[in-house]
């Protein structure tokens, strides 16, 4: 058994933010302590109203070496940006 506590990724919803944002990671023996540690490490300056902790091993991540096939094809597809429409004035700001 590893003597290291598992790694947890911490997400905080800020005072006015709509969604939880990744703020960093920390070690904790279990989920309950991960929330407590996150409270102490990441919200001590009154940053948040909600905390999510996800054990890092449960996060599926893209592989950096796949960057080419994954992301490059979208680079040459400017038509995917909705910038070719004339917005009627009375639609207001979008």
């Amino acid at each position: 058994m590893s003597s290291e506590w598992p790694l947890w990724e911490i997400f905080i919803r800020g005072q006015h933010g709509m969604s939880h944002r990744h703020v960093g990671s920390l070690h904790a023996p279990d989920a309950k302590m991960a929330i407590k540690n996150a409270r102490d490490v990441y919200t001590r300056r009154n940053e948040g109203v909600s905390i999510w902790a996800v054990e890092a091993l449960h996060i599926a991540a893209s592989v950096p070496s796949d960057k080419g096939p994954l992301f490059e094809p979208s680079r040459s597809k400017v038509y995917r940006h909705p910038t070719f429409f004339d917005i009627p004035d009375d639609a207001g700001s979008m």
Binding site: W5, H27, M33, K36, N37, R39, D40, V41, R44
Partner: protein, 252 residues
């Protein structure tokens, strides 16, 4: 003893408990076993010093002798301090520090709950503010006591040793000083009759989960509330007060 003198005594008791424990906990800064605990302990120490500032500030105001919280903190000697002997106990290992914290938090949470209903407005307000901080301290220290008590063979042994060592310092929390009777009659200090039973029920629940056994010997050290302290307080004060004693009034 007049009611004002009794109130001054009692507020020093509340303030000195949190002041001295805060200093003890702050001794871990940079030394805790993992950085997450290091930050958590520093947060706890800061909460406690904030509470000490409020209690001692009010104490100085009640005393009316022109002193303030800083004067009480830095320019009293050990026989003037009114804290429980429990909070001046040396830190020992991490487990022992958390055991001391838990025993104190469980008491402080109940005490603040009562004080929040005091007819003295300022006392009720300070208690109402501190109660949220202490609820979190208690949850954290309680969980850690369970985690380490019901942990490995070594952590269990260390936690049981910590409990055995600190238990004789718990009785002092409940022997209510006769000097405070006037305050109870004036509804400034609520009745404390059920404090011991409720505290015992809380710590028993946690110790059951932690597989720790409460010592059967109920011998209790006392003296802190009347200024008879252990030698450890003097050493702590040396470190805490040295700057203001060497350069009185120094600011930075």
């Amino acid at each position: 003893m007049t009611q004002r003198e009794a109130l001054f005594e009692f507020l020093q008791h509340l303030g000195d408990n949190t002041l001295i424990l805060s200093h003890r906990v702050s001794e871990w800064c940079g030394h805790a076993p993992v950085i997450e605990e290091d930050i958590a302990l520093a947060n706890t120490a800061l909460d406690l010093i904030g509470q000490a500032q409020m209690w001692l500030g009010l104490a100085a105001e009640i005393e009316g002798a022109g002193r303030d919280a800083d004067a009480l903190t830095y320019h009293r000697d050990s026989w003037d301090f009114r804290n429980l002997l429990l909070v001046e106990r040396p830190n020992g290992d991490f487990g022992k520090t958390l055991m001391r914290q838990f025993l104190f938090d469980a008491w402080q949470a109940l005490m603040l709950e009562k004080l929040a209903r005091s007819e003295h407005k300022q006392i009720a307000a300070i208690a109402g503010k501190a109660i949220k901080e202490v609820a979190y301290h208690l949850e954290r220290s309680g969980d850690t006591v369970i985690g380490l008590g019901d942990g490995t063979e070594e952590s269990h042994a260390r936690m049981q040793a910590a409990l055995d060592d600190l238990w004789p310092y718990c009785g002092e929390m409940f022997n209510l000083d006769e000097r405070y009777n006037a305050l109870i009659l004036a509804n400034i200090l609520p009745r404390m009759d059920d404090l011991r039973a409720r505290w015992l029920s809380k710590v028993t629940d946690i110790f059951d989960d932690a597989t720790l056994v409460i010592p059967t010997d109920n011998f209790a050290h006392s003296g802190g509330k009347s200024g008879r302290h252990t030698e450890h307080l003097g050493h702590l004060l040396c470190e805490m007060q040295v700057l203001q004693r060497s350069y009185p009034g120094a600011k930075w």
